[in-house]
Symmetry: C2
Subunit: 503 residues, 2 copies
Amino acid sequence: VVAASLGLTIDPRSPLPVYRQIADGIRQGLGEGRLQPGLRLPATRDLARALQVNRNTVVAAYEALGREGVVASHTGRGTFLVDPKEVPVPEPADPFAHAFARAVEGSKVASLLSVYRTAISGEGISFAGSFPAAELMPVEPFRRAMGAVLRERGAELLSYGATGGYAPLREAVAEGMRRRGSRVDADEILVTNGSQQALELVFRTFVDPGDPVLVEDLTYTGALSVLASLDARVVGVPGDEEGIRLDLLTRALERHRARVLYVQPTFHNPTARVMGEARRRELLALAARHGCIVVEDDWAGDLRFEGVEVPTLHALDGGSRVVYVSTFSKKLLPGLRVGWVAAPAPVLERLVALKQVADCGTSPLLQAALHRFLADGGLDDHLRRVRRTYRERRDAMLAGLARHLAGQAVWTRPEGGLFVWARLLHGLDATALFGEAAARGVLFSRGELFHAEGLARDCLRLTYGGVSPEQIEAGLAILGQLVGARERRPEVAAAEWDAVPIL
Amino acid sequence: VVAASLGLTIDPRSPLPVYRQIADGIRQGLGEGRLQPGLRLPATRDLARALQVNRNTVVAAYEALGREGVVASHTGRGTFLVDPKEVPVPEPADPFAHAFARAVEGSKVASLLSVYRTAISGEGISFAGSFPAAELMPVEPFRRAMGAVLRERGAELLSYGATGGYAPLREAVAEGMRRRGSRVDADEILVTNGSQQALELVFRTFVDPGDPVLVEDLTYTGALSVLASLDARVVGVPGDEEGIRLDLLTRALERHRARVLYVQPTFHNPTARVMGEARRRELLALAARHGCIVVEDDWAGDLRFEGVEVPTLHALDGGSRVVYVSTFSKKLLPGLRVGWVAAPAPVLERLVALKQVADCGTSPLLQAALHRFLADGGLDDHLRRVRRTYRERRDAMLAGLARHLAGQAVWTRPEGGLFVWARLLHGLDATALFGEAAARGVLFSRGELFHAEGLARDCLRLTYGGVSPEQIEAGLAILGQLVGARERRPEVAAAEWDAVPIL
């Protein structure tokens, strides 16, 4: 009787779930006028008995109708059919006007792309980007490794793989970290599409919109872009020649109660500076005292060509508080897009879940080819070659800077990595210089791109990694001319400075 | 005098920016007791003149000190040194306790990984996952294509590439879409790591936390996971045998004012249904009327083995309101992890910026090898083979279902794609069946995983794509036995049902 009064029948042959059939039947009755707005629906228990279905099925049907606006429930009175008003919406001219999410509309998100486009443009003499030397890439050994794995297990490697990464590669990565003092197992490694994705997944795992995140005030543009896309509150902490200053870090930890600190202790991007072991230990103790997680970005740890290696934060910490990020892009082959995260099990579990949502895992084929290349000893050979070359180029750059920019700028002397950080003297502005230099075919990276608040406009980053000594000399000669010309017109420069908010 | 009173000097040889030197000098004075808390700092104009620097440099120094808590500014009175209180923070036992972001803690984010792990486990007879047949993969032609591109331009392809994708592949993808009626150019294509990343980037571009997003109430688990990770408000709209119901979609558009609708019009995952052309046109008109963007997921459009092709929404719409997502994973090689988005220029620009932030671009090497394979005509050959095989397997599955589950379940009859959708009759629960079947070595996908609210527990998805006809017969025989055994114990089943909230 109850079901009949609603005109409901269940069709056992229908592929629609039963709850959906009930909901559809009620909506149809309303649409056809058999059921009137205002009608009180039977109690779920009564209707379930009448239809010979589980009561939860009827509850689900009523809830679905509620979500769809067909019924409204009033506590203690029951569930009623409603008559939804029509709300006409005018069609906008541009379907995508005002359609974009807030977080991706910020300029910081777009800036990484603009920086990258400059860096890969391949025109003129480029000190931009932090790219390794293309002519040193071990293309032929890698081709052999790729051919071998495709012949031996192509079908498997061209199928879906494990989300966390290709097991032998995870083991090789963990073994490499253990050789540098870390306590880490293969199942604490997540393989990612370069360290950019590693950072993205790590920050998404820890940062809610509006959360404070502490960074070195000069830091990697890609990390700043990720944090901007997450709508994080970025707090830049100044550093000195050894990296982030612990007195200021202490203050920032106290003021902002941040859960996450992002640092690059070795060959810091963009300054190339290295944090000493004592400060690393103090930093870890400080983070522990404040319950703060440390994200260590060690993108260039293998690229030391001078001086003594300093243990990673991950190694010093025993892997308990540090989430470690690195990549094969800078030390080996950027086009593979293979990086990784090392993190304790509860963190890694969430990172893997997010990696699944992000892209279902990095190509198993690329990972297997890389693993074969590593197993054949290709990386050690390659590192020996590139370290020698990078030292020569660093020397060429330091000599060129002394020749062409002495008295106009000061700069760092890196013991590894791919670039030198310089500051222009006499109030010169690297952003203005950038346009002039680009017009003469010389590119570099503007300092402001690396600053948490867009400051450091008097600074620039000069990459020597991908440029020959001859190009370094030629490019620095042009920069020296441009800087010299600027200085020789102090009155014009001063007028420009007053007009441009430089800091 | 002014500068001297603060004890400030600018070191022109320091690599620190000048504003930073000023800020550091003031902080140091406070730390050493030379400057007292409460001291009013000089006006920026006066200090700039005294130090012979730009006034903006001093402003930047004061602002930096403000952010660091060293000074406080009071409008109309000036800037004062403050004495920050120390706020000790106790160290928690587990550094990662309560450290995770809200959005990634939801079960929906983890559920995709759990589904995927089941699907790739490769044990027993698997109707789970929507995977193509591994034994049909064109491994050898792909290996030749990979070898050729590595020989011809290995160094270029192992370097960083364009963020939007390898230009020849973008052109090939656009050309393929044009052959199916779309108006689209290569620069409206973004190459992604499979369609999973395509969906992630698209939803991140349009969805802020809390935004409503309309989906088919049964839909792709991976899309639900992305939306959960973005903290979107997912509104499931029921469908019928032809897909999403437009009367309910109208109501949902009116009630929720959603900007984004996500649909799979062709071989919908999980039901395999196809939306007819008339409904597609009405859906587009409805979306236009409400200013709603349509995200069309066409992961299986090439996998039709029967019946007549229906134009994509993108083709019908002229590419003006539809953001189109597809992939080479299902039709070709999942292990490449190559998919794409097609979108109008203003959308694509933002997608590319976000792709840069996400991972700096998909491996150029994989893209070039795929492009070479396509240019050699490999895809057409492959599609001819797999379509024939999938039709045979579909037939085997329909026959097996009729043999073993007639009267126990109803199911769809797909004209393409990789799976059949079935609903168990007599109140049987697919989630309970899943455990029993797994214990007998037979896997399938539970219906609830595809439902926006976790309903459809009476349903299951059975993939025939990667299983031989013999395995299909054997697996369905086991499912038939298990379902039959359940039905023969109605009183036990009823008791179980009362205990378990099934909907």
